[in-house]
């Protein structure tokens, strides 16, 4: 291919990774009821296996798109099935393939009704999310972006809690209103950027300030709803509380990342001037999200709500890092996206494990679990510490980089964001103290089973990742280094010369 920003390989590797789950979903309808769970697990694991070579073969020295494929899809206007990955999308892609098998395991017993449809819906979700992370054509991106809504709507609405109808509809309408504006913004960019939907080509066009400003806000609504940024976050607690465990994990770990990914892939490269103009507003909203989310998390009696609000706070760090607009901030943001995916996903799995046993998500009903469930308590403590950013765990690296990046942009902003870290310690440790070590008040938690083998199999890989990234983050950071630097140069912002601290 003549395009210098693109590297091609022979085997359609990405297509295989993206569409294997979809094929698996179809296959589920042809296997025996008793084999549905195993089939789904095998498909999800196979997809993980298929995606690992991407990491090994990935060339971290170049910001170019790798493993690209391009086939003409619609002739007029020219829309291509054009996919590829760079250092920003690779970690998210791997996160998706990594978490899906764990979600399948987490739903093993938790979902009883219509297991076939549930597993199929999850695998369809996986295809749509992977598609979002690899798409290099705006329309293709949009198709995957929206195609995900219906499966998620069904996961919340069919398999969710008592108030699921309200939560599902709220989730759907919020995200739909956001994304329809994205469609119009895509069309505007198309006509102002030389009649192409190619993301890489569109990123090289200089748009007029008026266009940039309008498109910026259209993109903003679409991505901010997904992230979710304050004040568009109100769908999140409802959706999380009602969704089944695997749905919550998908939502928190992967769906929310798509919004942040959108900022990195669209807003920054295509609209550099508008980005610089509106950065103060974005930073302010991120800070509000960090503090407001943490403050709300303090007040929650429902574990899922607590973690949902902590997500709002943590995602505030991600957007803060992105709009710090320097290498440290953005690398921290991408790393924090992965970290949040691992840690918050794990915390939701913990809540799921509790709920399977006591059928309550209330902190008060689940006090003092350390005695009957020591393994569970250990896992919970690890993830809580990771979530609050204890040094040695994954989140510390990400949050630290974000704070460094923010510090370079504005010391005051960094100081305020640091308050969020402290608040996180407060609400998480308080939660752990009550759930793991609190006094059981009348509820019979004495005879609860500890984690079984299947559950340990879901938690152990996550624990490994927590410490691996926490102690040795370089593999992940190196992979994204070239791409992030390219993005920064592209946005044409002044390079900040400060060595990346290596914790």
């Amino acid at each position: 291919m003549s395009d210098p920003t693109i590297q091609t390989t022979g085997f359609p590797w990405l297509t295989a990774v993206v569409f294997l789950p979809l094929a698996g979903a179809v296959m589920l309808f042809f296997v025996k009821e008793s084999l549905v769970r195993w089939t789904a697990l095998v498909v999800a694991l196979a997809d993980l296996g298929l995606s690992l070579p991407l990491w090994l073969l990935f060339d971290p020295s170049t910001p170019r798109m790798q493993f690209t494929e391009r086939v003409s899809w619609i002739a007029s206007p020219s829309i291509n099935y054009s996919i590829g990955i760079d250092g920003i999308s690779l970690p998210l892609l791997l996160l998706t393939t990594f978490l899906t098998p764990l979600c399948v395991l987490a739903s093993w017993k938790a979902i009883e009704a219509r297991i076939r449809e549930f597993m199929a819906t999850m695998l369809i979700m996986e295809t749509a999310m992977l598609g979002v992370f690899v798409a290099l054509d705006l329309v293709l991106f949009y198709v995957f972006w929206e195609a995900m809504l219906i499966p998620m709507y069904l996961i919340i609405g069919v398999w969710g809690g008592p108030n699921r109808l309200y939560a599902a509809m709220k989730f759907f309408l919020y995200t739909l209103v956001g994304s329809v504006l994205l469609l119009i913004a895509i069309l505007v960019v198309f006509f102002h950027g030389g009649q192409t939907f190619d993301m890489l080509l569109l990123s090289r066009v200089g748009y007029s300030p008026t266009v940039q400003n309008w498109v910026f806000w259209a993109f903003f609504v679409a991505f901010a709803v997904k992230v979710p940024m304050f004040p568009f976050h109100t769908w999140l607690p409802d959706a999380h509380v009602e969704a089944p465990t695997a749905g919550s994990v998908f939502l928190a770990s992967l769906l929310l990342k798509m919004g942040a990914y959108g900022f990195l892939r669209f807003t920054l490269p295509m609209l550099p001037d508008a980005t610089e103009t509106f950065t103060p507003i974005m930073v302010a909203l991120s800070l509000i999200a960090i503090l407001y989310g943490a403050y709300m998390a303090l007040a929650q009696a429902d574990l899922k709500k607590l973690i949902a609000y902590s997500s709002v706070s943590h995602m505030g760090f991600v957007t803060l890092g992105i709009f710090a607009l320097n290498a440290q901030g953005i690398e921290g943001a991408v790393l924090q996206m992965v970290n949040h995916g691992i840690t918050t996903g794990a915390l939701f799995l913990c809540v799921g494990a509790i709920y399977e046993r006591t059928h309550s998500r209330m902190i008060a009903d689940n006090a003092g679990l350390a005695r009957p469930m020591p393994r569970f308590a250990t896992v919970l403590v690890i993830f809580a510490l990771s979530s609050l950013g204890l040094p040695g765990t994954n989140s510390f690296v990400g949050e630290f980089l974000v704070l460094v990046g923010t510090f370079l942009w504005s010391q005051a902003a960094a100081a305020i964001a640091a308050l969020g870290v402290i608040l996180a310690a407060v609400y998480l440790l308080w939660m752990v103290q009550r759930v793991a070590f609190g006094l059981p008040d009348g509820h019979n938690t004495e005879r609860l089973r500890d984690l079984n083998l299947r559950e340990m199999a879901t938690f152990v890989p996550l624990v490994v990742l927590v410490f691996w990234i926490g102690l040795f983050p370089n593999p992940v950071l190196t992979a994204m280094h070239a791409s992030v630097n390219n993005l920064i140069e592209h946005v044409d912002l002044e390079e900040v010369s400060l060595a990346v601290p290596n914790p």
Partner: protein
């Protein structure tokens, strides 16, 4: 006056349809009641033959009967769409009519006659000929709307449709007569010439323009001429409702585009603003009122109003004063594309509604869909796909249709219109998804006795399979349809 053979070949499909209609009506009395299916198959054969003829005429441009009708790719496109809609309607009627105990032979005759009227509408280049086509279509539809003759609602629908329809036809005819007064002819070409030189300084022309907008606005059911739609759609037999919602709307759009772009193109500056207002009002009202409906047919009626509003975006784009060449082509072709896509998803949705109709019981309330996913998983899944497509969510055809319309709007600089449209498309997702919610997320009430039988038949399977295939395939690979519509538009003057 001799009739050249070329004139007859130009209207060969119409002749075949009329002959088939007469044959069906003639054979009906001697066909035993249990064999009425044969008449349906006969009608389908005639449609298949016509489809073959029309496809082979696709590249022609023949003006016949001294410029009364024109056979061009534009007309052929609409005709093919109309065959498709009629064929699927007939297929879905077989089992449905039996469930409703109104399986009569003349039903198929009237469908064919109505189709013939529609075909004349889309190929006529003369206002009076268009008017004749409209009347042939409408008179047959009045009868079909009242086909459940034992049911008061059906009769009410027919009466309402007839009174309002006749009234709007009168208005249209009055507009035509005024135009004749100004131009001295009812040929679109002559009108275009007269209008081009005169502009709007003639008050008769202003009145004529308004009357034509009212007349056509009634036929395509746009606000504020939409009042008849919910009542008629609700009361008419479901298969007839599907036919009206798809075929009659497509034919009316076909004639409407030709009249306003070819005949009254010189007055663009004047009707452009009018349609802009109508377009926005239609999208707003159709979508908002659909939210509160409890009857699925009424909901689909309001949704069809809203969809006419979306389609009008393309008309507005084509009518923009500066719109020339590529923009106009995109505007008109996106309307055609949208109506083709709309045909598949709407026919599919109505087919599911018709299928769920239980003998003797109502199957038309949205509440009747409660827990359908447990009782009839396949029917529920089909309805899910059609609802998602109607809401315009990828990867279904509904998204592709909206995508081209919005692209046309943005290209013409009407970004704000596209924004209004997408926001109301998001509103529409609420009521479409409510059907999904009722089907998938509510448990069915305890059913006493065996499950009610579905009005299912092999023919219905064909309808559902082909509409599903259309919705999915056009969503994934719209290229053929896009090139056909683009090709067809180029023949429009």
């Amino acid at each position: 006056m001799t009739l050249p053979l070329s004139d007859l070949t130009a209207v060969l499909p119409e002749l075949i349809i009329v002959a088939a209609a007469c044959l069906v009506l003639g054979l009906d009395p001697i066909t035993p009641a249990s064999r009425k299916d044969w008449l349906a198959w006969l009608s389908l054969v005639s449609l298949a033959v016509c489809a073959g003829v029309t496809s082979s005429q696709m590249h022609l441009r023949v003006s016949a009967f001294s410029d009364l009708v024109l056979l061009d790719p534009y007309a052929c496109f609409w005709k093919l769409l109309l065959y498709l809609a009629s064929g699927l309607t007939i297929l879905m009627s077989l089992a449905y009519l039996r469930t409703e105990r109104i399986h009569l032979g003349e039903y198929y005759g009237f469908i064919l006659l109505s189709l013939c009227g529609m075909m004349i509408m889309v190929s006529a280049t003369d206002l009076l000929t268009i008017y004749l086509g409209i009347e042939l279509m409408s008179l047959s539809l009045y009868v079909l709307a009242g086909f459940k003759r034992f049911e008061a609602r059906s009769l009410e629908a027919a009466a309402k449709y007839f009174v309002l329809g006749a009234f709007s036809s009168g208005i249209l005819l009055y507009g035509i007569s005024l135009l004749f007064g100004v131009a001295g002819s009812t040929r679109l070409a002559a009108i275009a010439a007269a209008v081009g030189s005169r502009g709007l300084d003639d008050p008769a022309l202003v009145v004529a323009l308004i009357l034509l907008v009212v007349g056509f606005g009634f036929k395509i059911a746009v606000v504020p001429f939409h009042m008849w739609t919910p009542d008629v759609y609700e009361g008419a037999p479901t298969s007839v409702t599907a036919f009206m919602a798809v075929a009659s709307k497509a034919a009316s759009f076909g004639a409407f585009l030709r009249v306003f772009l070819e005949g009254l193109g010189g007055l663009k500056a004047n009707w452009y603003g009018l349609f802009l207002v109508v377009c926005v009002a239609t999208m707003v009202l159709g979508n908002v009122v659909a939210i509160v409906q409890t009857n699925i047919k009424r909901m689909l009626a309001y949704s069809s109003i809203a969809h006419a509003g979306y389609a009008l975006i393309g008309v507005v784009v084509a009518g923009q004063t500066e719109a020339e060449g590529a923009v106009r082509t995109l505007g008109v072709s996106s309307v055609m594309l949208y109506l083709a896509v709309y045909a598949f998803m709407t026919l599919g949705a109505f087919a599911v509604v018709a299928m769920l109709r239980k003998g003797g019981l109502e199957g038309d309330e949205i509440e009747d869909f409660t827990g359908l996913a447990k009782r009839q998983p396949l029917a529920a899944f089909l309805m899910l796909v059609f609802m998602v497509s109607l809401a315009g969510i990828p990867p279904t055809a509904g998204f592709i249709g909206k995508f081209y319309l919005f692209m046309a709007a943005v290209k013409a600089g009407l970004t704000w219109l596209a924004v209004v449209a997408v926001l109301f498309a998001a509103v529409s997702a609420y009521y479409y998804l409510r059907v999904v919610m009722v089907m998938y997320m509510r448990d069915p009430e305890a059913v006493e006795g065996p499950l009610p039988r579905l009005a299912m038949s092999p023919a219905m399977t064909i309808v559902l399979a082909s509409t599903l295939a259309g919705v999915i395939l056009l969503g994934l690979y719209p290229n053929p349809l896009v090139s056909v519509t683009t090709y067809a538009v180029l023949s429009l003057k």
